[in-house]
């Protein structure tokens, strides 16, 4: 019995391929002040991922919000070894574009289906940044 596989097609933000277990949130993420780069953990007080680490996960989220320190905060996660494996998001802005570039994590946006509706936390996700393809293997 093979697991159910779904393929989403979108646009390259950062090239490269990576795969891992998905961490999905329907809430935008703050960088500076919203995450602790040393642990890769969301620290924003009212966030649904409060206390959860995205380290080595494929982060699937609506987009970036908050301080202009977004890129710096995610850049630091790369140095600290706590960065997400890959990123998939919906709404483009300067924070996430720059943040994804300096995090060096394969990243895709503008997908033909809403990744927040398709991907659930725990699914296995492969992101091919260069081809803009996201392959989702459902956990169930």
């Amino acid at each position: 019995m093979s697991a159910k596989k779904i393929v989403l097609r979108g646009r390259k933000v950062v090239g490269g391929c990576a795969e891992g277990e998905a961490l999905v949130t329907k809430e935008t993420i703050s960088g500076w002040g919203g995450i602790d780069p040393m642990t890769g953990t969301v620290i924003e007080t009212h966030h649904e991922l409060h206390g959860v680490s995205f380290r080595d996960r494929v982060l699937v989220f609506p987009g970036a919000k908050g301080s202009s320190g977004w890129s710096n905060a995610f850049h630091m996660t790369r140095l600290a070894g706590t960065a997400p494996k890959a990123m998939v998001f919906n709404r483009m802005n300067t924070k996430i574009a720059l943040g994804a570039v300096v995090t060096h994590a394969p990243t895709v946006t503008d997908l033909d289906q809403d990744p927040l509706a398709v991907v659930e936390t725990g699914d296995w996700v492969r992101v091919d940044g260069d081809r803009g393809i996201v392959e989702v293997t459902k956990k169930r």
Partner: protein, 430 residues
């Protein structure tokens, strides 16, 4: 994307290796955005090459070198090798940093960290980057005008730049501003383009918004309501001054990601609702009433339980000279409670005037401290043993408790000063 001949030349290395690395990063960034071209900018606000001990240690360990040029190359420009960093090409100012130049020990900084701070500052000055060291560059010597293309970071400054001044900038980051400093280029995307500056959401204010605290609450509400869209505010608002714009924008940029707002009849691109919305019809009209006001107040006070306040922080965004004057008036001839500390943060240029006017002395005589360059959230520094803080800034109240693990009360500047004098929180929504 389309590159002009000077952009292509820089990318090919004609401007030297640092500008080549800077263009390479800007092209990767612009392509990630989906931008098709760059705009020229001669007004950059960033933190070029500034380091933390973490960065110093990291690059010492991984690159064998951790001086200014190493960090500018490997971190700011995301380059694969260390290059010589020339003088700035574009007019650039340095935003806030990690410590006060005099009271760094009070902030818990080590001698080693302070030595790095001084070395970095000398490197910044040597490259012709203005040492404004503030989140309010527009109060310290960098005041862009309507229509000017800028490349600024610091979300509260970005929203002020676009909304109040009518200049044009996206929320840039450390790496893009450092690259723009060397190249004078930034992606032509988002708020640089007229068609992206029109409002999309209508906020109808149904309760009077007059005080600084109320402007903070309204901004905090709008950030949650519109996220990073552009609100057009009308209704029961009275004419805001600089302090109110500053608090409003900072709050909206923190709870959402508001980079630009219009207030009908007040901000420069919103003389009329038609002008503010341009070709758009509002996606939604959102009311702001008494229940919303109460909800925002409660939300900002949700991590306040213990009424014993041991730290009051003012100056987020950095205090204007008018605010220094007000704080001095409230403290004159009084003494701060023995169990409480008061720190007021501002820019070096405003502090110079506060010194001349005697405000710094009044605040010190009361037992408080005036500091520049930084704030508690940026430096992650509160007085030793702090458990409960009082804040008059929705932005600081949004960030600080989670960053340093303290309880926080939010209220008016007067409520905060009262807390400093009595050691107890007695604020409220009046």
């Amino acid at each position: 994307m389309r590159l002009t001949s000077d952009e292509q030349a820089m990318l090919d290395g004609a401007g030297g290796p640092a500008r080549q690395k800077a263009m390479d990063l800007l092209v990767r960034y612009a392509e990630a955005l989906g931008a098709e071209a760059f705009v020229d900018t001669n007004n950059v606000a960033g933190v070029p090459g500034s380091s933390t001990l973490f960065l110093k240690n990291y690059y010492q360990q991984h690159a064998g070198q951790s001086d200014y040029e190493a960090i500018y190359s490997l971190y700011d420009l995301d380059a694969d090798e260390i290059v010589a960093v020339p003088r700035a090409n574009a007019y650039c100012c340095h935003l806030q940093g990690g410590m006060d130049p005099d009271n760094w020990a009070e902030l818990g900084m080590t001698e080693e960290a302070h030595a790095h701070f001084q070395q970095d500052e000398a490197q910044v000055a040597a490259r012709g980057i203005q040492i404004l060291k503030t989140c309010t560059p527009y109060l310290a010597g960098n005041l862009p005008v309507k229509g000017q293309h800028c490349a600024w970071m610091e979300s509260s400054a970005v929203v002020f730049c676009n909304s109040v001044l009518g200049a044009r900038t996206n929320t840039e980051g450390r790496e893009s501003t450092s690259a723009a400093t060397l190249t004078g280029k930034i992606p032509d995307w988002g708020l640089h383009r007229v068609e992206c500056r029109y409002g999309t959401y209508h906020i109808e204010v149904g309760v009077p918004v007059t005080s600084v605290m109320d402007w903070g609450l309204l901004g905090y509400f709008i950030g949650y309501a519109v996220e990073e869209n552009i609100p057009v505010v009308s209704g029961h608002v009275s004419q805001p001054d600089l302090i109110r714009h500053k608090h409003f924008g900072a709050a909206a940029a923190s709870s959402g990601g508001v980079e630009m707002y219009h207030i009908v009849g007040i901000t420069p691109e919103a003389a009329t609702p038609e002008m503010a919305f341009g070709p758009h019809k509002p996606v939604a009209t959102i009311g702001y009433g008494q229940a919303d006001r109460q909800q925002m107040y409660d939300r900002l006070n949700s991590v306040g339980h213990d009424p014993h306040v041991d730290y009051v922080m003012l100056g987020c965004p950095h205090a204007s000279i008018e605010q220094m004057w007000e704080v001095a008036k409230l403290l004159e001839g009084k003494k701060i409670h023995g169990g409480c500390r008061l720190w007021v943060f501002t820019s070096r240029s405003v502090k110079t005037i506060a010194d001349l006017n005697g405000y710094t002395r009044v605040i010190q005589d009361a037992g408080g401290l005036v500091m520049t360059d930084t704030c508690s959230a940026i430096s992650r520094a509160v007085p030793k043993g702090t458990k409960v803080v009082a804040l008059d800034s929705a932005k600081q109240a949004h960030y600080l408790p989670a960053m340093v693990g303290v309880e926080a009360w939010f209220g008016s500047t007067e409520d905060c000063i009262q807390a400093a004098l009595n050691g107890r929180w007695n604020g409220g929504l009046r």
